[in-house]
Amino acid sequence: MVQLKIFRLNPEKEEKASYTTYELENQNSLLMALRFVREHIDPSLAFRDFHCAKGVCGSCRMRVDGKPRKACETMLISGHTYLIEPLEGKQIIKDLVIR
């Protein structure tokens, strides 16, 4: 199992961000884990999930434990908790999606 503590913000409705923690089976990469969350736990979670399978496009870049990473190239280790936030310095559309 892994735990993802994910930044949540809908700027249309909320002024302050909150964090939701999800616990799930390890899905290998962070991108696949986020997809699992959206498909099976919380369909309201927003992130860019265009999947190039090459680590090239960079559309899934986000901060993992404070560092900018590509979700598709971030391998998760079972038993760990990860802090997942959007990249800094950009306008947030929703949750992990930036303009």
Binding site: M32, P43, A46, F50, H51, C52, A53, G55, M75
Partner: protein
């Protein structure tokens, strides 16, 4: 009050074909709006394309040979006129790309480098440094630099609006706000790519859902040869971090890889053509001896020194090698699950030499168009097609916009959205069911009985509406609308497949294994009086 955006030309799709058409339309003095479902350059199919773009550009290259090769692979139903234009004009379009700042692999003497494929020196494939991703970025930069082009990311086209049989614009969804808007334009250029996502295994992106083709179909456009889908022989299907990563099929021969079924039986694929390899692998998967994730195994058993094997893999896999390395996956050590996967849609919207469809004001270019390559496509003709026919569509558009009335189409789309969102199932669950139906019953090897079963199950699925909360950055709504379109398109694809009672190129039927001269023709799909009609028209 719903926003109405006014422009001369609206391009749907921010890939190589869409941006090239936008650049040419702008060069002709038009105001152009480019809509992209995701972020331009970081979504769609172009960024995933390989390096190859065909153009007989060197002095000793032959345009005739390029054409001959394209016609041969098209198996009798390619369009000779369009393929000739492709061969003739691709060198000039390649030079345009150089002007946009794209670089290519070059010989020391300044000629464009052509790779050696299957032991033969290719005479028309040029190699883009950085592949499709770099191509898309170069075109994006050029488009952003044009004062006449405006790009709208996160915008999904939902309906083509016509008045008196002439296109007047679009109804679109602004994904960020979740609100509808209208676009008033004299010409619509459809450049939305293919529908590879209809199948369980694909090596393209998750947004290649094909709703652009449904837009054209609903506007009255003729669609041809939708059953013609190019499957790629070897694509990784496990682990999850490598899903969709394709492996050049001749690499297996180069490094002496064995292909095994789930019971470790050798599939003896050494001397097989790529197409026979697809059939052999698919049959093994479907006969109940698949690997745990539904594929076959790829296992290297080579006597070459490890460093040499890695060098070969690295050269052939390019950026994908680096990705796999970061993921801790080793092609030469691990036993890897692979499968054939949908790779390119040969069929689509019927066009003339300037991308015109049968609907006044509606153009189509790139993979979404359907009558260029016939039953098979030459490697690297796909990217050349985006540039040659993108340019031509951009040059041919007109800009005499009339002020359409969008109130009724907007209300209609709003009603459709409410209906789609009135159900109980999740879009992801229906999508996954549909993809499995298409893969198991209408995949690379087909049979009339199985396709009939597929059709029945697709029609059952079509009765489902979905449970969707409409929200800011409404990915759920996008997913639901995609699924709705995918179900309709799947019906059209399967019915086209049933109509074509022969085997030709990438349409292979176990119940009709031979090519039939009577089928040197296109299947055609169109909507007449709200009903989907399939027939046969001359190629």
């Amino acid at each position: 009050m719903t926003e109405i955006i006014k422009t001369n030309v609206v391009v749907i799709g921010g890939g190589a074909a869409g941006l090239r058409s936008a650049l040419e339309a702008a060069a002709q003095g038009r105001e152009v709006l480019v809509l992209s479902k995701g972020v331009v350059g970081k979504s769609g199919i172009t960024p995933l394309a390989s390096f190859g773009i065909s153009a007989a550009v060197n002095n000793d290259d032959s345009i005739d040979r390029h054409l001959e090769e394209s016609l041969r692979v098209a198996q009798g139903i390619g369009n000779p006129k369009l393929l000739q234009i492709l061969a003739q004009e691709s060198p000039a379009r390649l030079k345009d790309l150089v002007a946009y700042g794209l670089t290519f692999k070059m010989e020391d003497d300044g000629r464009f480098y052509h790779p050696v494929r299957a032991g033969k020196r290719d005479n028309h494939t040029c190699c883009i440094n950085g592949g499709g991703f770099s191509l898309n970025q170069a075109l994006r930069r050029a488009a952003e630099a044009s004062p006449r082009i405006r790009i709208l990311n996160d915008t999904m086209a939902l309906k083509i609006v016509k008045e008196d049989d002439q296109v007047v614009g679009l109804v679109v969804l602004d994904i960020a706000s979740g609100k509808l808007a209208a676009v008033s334009a004299a010409s619509v250029i459809l450049a939305t790519g293919g529908y590879e996502e209809l199948w369980h295994f694909t090596d393209t992106s998750t947004d290649s859902t094909g709703e652009g083709i449904c837009l054209a179909m609903d506007a009255g456009a003729d669609l041809v040869d939708l059953e013609m889908v190019l499957f790629y022989p070897l694509v990784m299907i496990h682990p999850p971090s490598a899903i969709g990563c394709s492996v050049p099929y001749d690499l297996a021969t180069n490094i002496n890889a064995r292909l095994l079924d789930g019971r470790m039986r050798d599939l003896s694929t050494k001397a097989l053509s790529p197409f026979d390899l697809i059939k052999t692998a698919y049959r093994a998967i479907r006969s109940g001896s698949a690997t745990p994730n539904g594929g076959i195994y790829f296992k290297v058993e080579c006597e070459m020194p490890e460093t040499q094997i890695i060098e070969i893999i690295k050269e052939r896999m390019g950026v994908r090698f680096t990705h796999l390395q970061k993921m801790g996956i080793s092609l030469h050590r691990d036993r890897i699950e692979m499968s054939p996967a949908s790779h390119y849609c040969l069929g689509g919207v019927q066009i003339d030499e300037d991308g015109r469809t049968n609907i006044k004001g509606l153009f189509a270019t790139g993979e979404v168009s359907g009558n260029i390559h016939g039953a098979g496509r030459v490697f690297s003709n796909a990217l050349a097609e985006t540039q040659v026919f993108g340019y031509r569509a951009g040059r041919a558009v007109t800009s005499n916009a009339r002020n359409g009335d969008f109130s009724e189409p907007l209300a209609k789309v709003e009603k459709e959205i409410q209906e789609v969102c009135s159900g109980f199932k999740s879009p992801a669950a229906i999508r996954s069911d549909l993809k499995m139906i298409m893969w198991t019953l209408a995949g690379p090897v087909r049979h009339g009985d199985l396709m009939t079963e597929a059709l029945n199950r697709i029609i059952e699925l079509s009765h489902n509406n979905m449970r969707v909360k409409r929200d800011t950055f409404c990915q759920q709504l996008v997913a639901a609308l995609e699924v709705k379109a995918m179900i309709r398109l799947a019906e059209a694809v399967v019915r086209s497949g049933l109509e074509r009672t022969e085997s030709r190129g990438h349409h292979f039927r176990d119940d009709y294994p031979q090519m039939d001269d009577g089928w040197r023709a296109h299947t055609r799909v169109r909507i007449l009086k709200d009903e989907m009609i399939i027939d046969k028209i001359p190629a």
